[in-house]
Each structure stands twice: as C-alpha cells, then as structure tokens.
C-alpha cells in the first residue's frame, strides 16, 4: 500500500509544517518565488487533467513557486473532456491523448505554444518527441506529459507466461479463463485489440475488417465473459481479483509494483502506443501562466514526482532513466518501459465516422453479454 503510506506521510508533513507556524517561509520552495500577477497579469489557471494523473504535491509546489492559484479538474475519458469543452468550459491547460489533440488541432480549438517561453523542452526524451510528430507534426501545439502502451496484466501463477506469449491477444478467446478477465470498457481499446489480433491496422476503416473485429469481440465476450470496467481495474488487479486484464502500461506498472504475482505483456501482434500531452486551448484566459505551468511540469522535479507516484512512464529523459534503473522505483518492472520502435505498434488517429461505427458495435458486444 505504497500510496496510502505516502498520503499519511504527506499529511503528517502538512501537520508538521502547521506546527512550525509562520517561522519558516523561505524553505518551502527551493527556487525563488516568482509572482504570476506581476509576470503575466493573471494568477489563476484552470487545469483539466485525467483522474489519478498527478503527484500529491506538484500543484501545491507550483502555486508556491509562482504565487498563483491552480483550479484543478479531472476527467475520466478524452471523450467526456471534449464534451465538456463543447459545453463552453474554458481551461488554460488540458492534458488529452494524441488522437484527441489531433482532433482539437483540426477544429482550431488550440493555440500554438510560445516555444521561447518553454525552457525545459530539451529535457524531453527525443523518442517521445518523435512519436509526438504523428499528431503534432511541427511540435508546435503540445508538450508530452506521459507516454505508454496498452497490454495485458496477468497473474503468472494462474496463467502460463509461455502460453500468453504465444497466444497474445487471442488468450482473450480462451474459455479456460471464463469469468477471470477484466476488459477495459472503451471502444477504442477494445477494437484495437480485435484489429491487432486479426493482423489489421488499428486505424482501418475497411467495413469488412470492422465486421471481422466485431465478430472477434462477440466471440471474446462469449468465451471469457469479461467484466467491463474502467479505472476500478487498478485496485481489482492489485488485489488479484481476476487473472487477466487489459490495461494501460502506466496502470500496469503501478499494479506490478504492488503485487508481485502480476506480470505485463505487450503481445507480439502489436499494440497501441500513446502519448498524453499538455496543450493550451485557444480561449485560455491566462496563457502566460499556462506556459509557466507546462514548463514547470516538464522540469525534473515535477516530472519525477508525477512518474514516481503514478507509475506512468516519464517523458523527461533523466527521470525515466533514474526511475527505470535497477535501484529506481520501477527497476525491473517491465510495464514501466513500454515497447518502442516495434513496427506492428501504432499510434491511434482520430476518425469521426469510424468512432460512430464502432460505438454502436461496442454497445452490442456488451449488451449481448447477458
């Protein structure tokens, strides 16, 4: 229960700080305090990020360093984030996924970044910047936040590593594991699995291939009767509730670090490689401070805190090397180092018509299950 002990530690630190009273004011922030109001003319930013995606003290430290206020909100999917944006909500920093950024760029909902205001870009992993070019070709709209892949977490006591290695995604159609599988309830990830299992591109819009993938999922549903879940899968797999689960590499790294029976595999048939990145909407109210925030998150300290606590793979090269080293927090944990440079792995592209096609079919797969 690393997370809980951390929360306890954090709260006791807060208590200690409270006891200290007003005596120590300079020691809290290591860097000199800047004044956001003076620098940018505004001192409040609205940040919209995925849930469970930021270190405990990162926001507080930033607020101290810039004498600013961060209004922080979280979403549970890129789709619900987009729905909220359509509803007219204004934010200064968003952290969507690659395909979602592609969509926002195409709909002119983002502003180009002022690259001169970002001093820490050279700390980013060049490989991740290369992946970013898929959705942001000139690297002018986004700064990577985390990156990773999608794979299967399995209990190595109940599932033979050799078998899952050989079968890959097709293990999800093996009746031996009936009732022992968690499927991530996301049409995008589910169809990715089916497309890859069948040897297609996950960005296909060929009707015959979509139908084949639908049939594959229906068969999967019949064969293993999976429970369709979202974030609750993290705790469930930590407790070993089922034997196989479709998970993002970062969540998998967290599960693996808490439960030694669990192992992670990216099937040889290929998978989805993704990058989540920070962007500034066109209608941001305080873009100056938003840039400062993005730069702060990219820097070593914040990046280390985020990745260390959450388990997703850092985009800061130095942080990644330290955390994945043998004596690092995620040393020896395969899921922390997503596969890169494998030709069957793909980045997802936004495709509105495909999305609609898939949403009806995905509901049918789930409804058909009872």
């Amino acid at each position: 229960m690393k997370k809980i002990s951390k929360i306890l530690l954090a709260s006791s630190l807060v208590l200690l700080a409270g006891c200290g009273g007003s005596s120590g004011s300079g020691s809290a922030a290591a860097t000199e305090t800047k004044d956001a109001k003076e620098l940018y003319g505004c001192s409040v930013i609205n940040v919209y990020n995925a849930g469970e995606y930021i270190g405990e003290n990162v926001l507080g430290d930033f607020e101290k360093a810039y004498n600013a206020t961060v209004k922080y909100e979280t979403f549970d999917s890129n789709e619900s984030m987009y729905t909220k944006l359509l509803g007219g909500s204004a934010y200064d920093v968003l952290v969507p996924s690659d395909y979602s950024i592609e969509r926002l760029i195409s709909e002119n909902m983002l502003q180009k970044l002022d690259l001169n205001a970002l001093e820490n870009l050279d700390q980013l992993d060049p490989a991740v910047r290369e992946m970013q070019k898929v959705f942001d070709p000139n690297l002018e709209y986004a700064v990577p936040y985390f990156w990773g892949s999608v794979g299967l977490v399995y209990n190595k006591n109940n599932v033979d590593p050799a078998v899952i290695k050989e079968k890959g995604w097709d293990i999800l159609q093996d009746e031996t594991y009936k009732g022992k599988v968690f499927m991530y309830d996301s049409q995008r990830d589910a169809f990715m699995v089916a497309f890859k299992a069948l040897g297609y591109s996950m960005n296909t819009d060929d009707p015959a291939q979509i139908d084949a993938a639908f049939d594959w999922l229906v068969n999967m549903d019949k064969a293993v009767e999976p429970a369709y879940v979202t974030d609750e899968v993290i705790d469930a797999m930590m407790n070993g509730e089922k034997d196989i689960a479709l998970m993002y590499s970062g969540d998998a790294a967290y599960v693996l670090s808490e439960n030694e029976d669990m192992e992670f595999i990216e099937p040889d048939q290929g998978t989805n490689i993704w990058v989540d990145a920070m962007v500034i909407p066109a209608n941001a109210g305080c873009p100056g401070l938003a840039h400062a925030f993005i730069d702060y998150i990219t820097d070593y300290d914040a990046s280390y805190q985020n990745s260390d606590e959450i388990g997703y793979t850092a985009v800061n090269r130095k942080v990644f090397e330290e955390l994945s080293a043998d004596d690092g927090t995620y040393g020896g944990i395969s899921a922390y180092i997503p596969r890169s440079g494998y030709d069957k792995d793909e980045v997802f592209h936004f495709n509105e018509t495909l999305r609609q096609e898939l949403s009806d079919r995905w509901n049918k797969v789930k409804i058909g299950s009872n």
Binding site: E79, Y82, S186, A227, Y228, V229, S359, N363, K366, N370
Partner: protein
C-alpha cells in the same frame, strides 16, 4: 391567495430554465441530424429508426422495464407487511422504526452502492441478482414510508366499526384497510418504478460491468460516444414510457379515490 401565487414566479422561471429548456433541447437533438446547429436544423427520424431497426436496443429497453417491474413488485411485497407491522406498533416504537428505515438514506446512494459492492464480493451471486439486491435495498425505504404514511392515517374507529359490523380480521383488512392504503401504494410505485427504469449506476457498479440498461446506454451515447442526437432519441423514448406510466398511475389513483368516496 393572489399574493401567494405571485411568490411562485421565481419557481416558474427556474422551471422554465432548468426543466423546460433542457427538455426542448433534447427534443431538438432527437429529431435532428448530427452536426446541425440551430441555424441549419435538419429534421430526421433516423435516430428513432436506428433504435428500432436493431432488436438489440429494444431488448435493452425491455430488460430495463422488466427490472423496474420486478424491483417495484418486490418492494411492495416486502414493504407492505413491514409498513403494516410498523403501523400496529406503539407510537414511540413507530418513530424508532421509521428512523431506522430513514437512517441509511442520509448517506449518499453512491457510497451505499459501493459498500454493497464490497459486501457482495464475498458471496457468489450472479450479476443479475447483485443488481436486484442493490436496487431493492435502494428503493425499499421509499415504498415503506409511503405505505406507512397512508396506513397510519387510517382512522382506528373505522376498524372498530368494521368489527362491530361483524367482519373478521381478514375481511376488515381486505375491505377497509387495503383500499384505504392503496393511495400510499400507488405513490410508492411512482417513487420506485420511475427512478428504477432509468437508474444506471447501480447496474453499472453491481452488475460487474456486464449489465447494460437503458440508463447506461443513454450515459454512454452522451458521454463516451458523444452522439447526443441518438442519446436524445433514447432519452425521449424513455421519457414517453415514463409519461405513459405516470398517466396509468394517476388513473389508478383517481379510480381509487372515487371508490373510497
């Protein structure tokens, strides 16, 4: 009275903005093609056709109605005797029992449902049974309270009179108590059936992610798929069913009152 009716203006305005306007928007979305703005409204019945074209969506609707019927039925079966026993107790004890029924309702439904998920994790129930347990647990207090209220309002003299006129306990119950308590049952049904048809988080949390009801479909099409037009069409179909059931309920209630008079 005139002065009082003026005081309802704020509520009327509130209702217009918060209830009527959103309903109109749902109707607008349900009958329009995706991507339309108000300026380029394009009428269509496609969203409804899509719902009925494929047997899978009506089957979900049927499943939701079935779930609501069974939940309501079981709530009456459990709730009526419970309320009857409460009404027969000493006034002091009645207050305690009602407090005990109300007590869990002070805790948020979401929290209670999560608690059930933990509890049901220890027993080997099927997904459907789990959902029923959660639904009945959640809706039973409404039924008990409604029936109890109408039972406790019955004038005891009527029961004494019934006995004086030669009716035994069974006949008294059937011919006096039951008809007089029916309005409570009817409003209990309204309070249980209508929310039960559209509930989506209890099936979601307790059904192991395998139990899709009409509420889940609507949520999915609005939030995940971002297909507001189809989502609105489903909402409208459900709203019609709810209106229809309210109409039937009212009619029943009305007949009861006439029979009682």
């Amino acid at each position: 009275m005139k002065g009082f009716s003026k005081m309802s203006y704020p509520y009327v305005i509130w209702a217009l903005i918060m209830i009527v306007a959103p309903m109109l928007m749902i109707v607008l979305y349900a009958f329009s093609v995706k991507g339309n703005s108000v300026l380029t409204f394009q009428f269509t019945l496609d969203n409804f056709a899509r719902f009925f074209r494929d047997s899978i969506f009506p089957s979900v609707l049927w499943r939701s109605l079935k779930m609501a019927f069974v939940t309501t039925g079981l709530c009456i079966l459990i709730g009526y005797p419970t309320a009857y026993i409460f009404a027969k107790m000493k006034p002091g004890n009645q207050a305690v029992m009602i407090l005990l029924v109300t007590l869990p309702m002070w805790i948020n439904v979401l929290v209670r449902t999560y608690a059930w998920r933990g509890l049901l994790g220890y027993v080997n129930f099927g997904n459907e049974l789990r959902v029923y347990v959660g639904m009945i647990y959640n809706f039973l207090p409404f039924m008990i309270l409604e029936i109890y209220t109408s039972l406790s309002k019955i004038d005891p003299n009527l029961i004494v009179a019934s006995h004086d006129l030669g009716a035994n306990d069974m006949e008294t119950f059937r011919r006096v108590i039951l008809p007089l308590s029916l309005p409570g049952v009817v409003s209990g049904i309204t309070l249980v059936f209508l929310p039960a048809v559209s509930s989506f988080f209890i099936p979601k949390f307790l059904g192991g992610g395998q139990y899709v009801l009409i509420g889940n479909l609507i949520e999915d099409y609005f939030i995940t798929s971002g297909d507001w037009n189809f989502g609105s069409a489903i909402s409208l179909i459900m709203a019609l069913i709810i209106l229809l059931s309210m109409f039937v309920m009212r009619k029943l209630d009305h007949e009861n009152k006439e029979a009682a008079d």
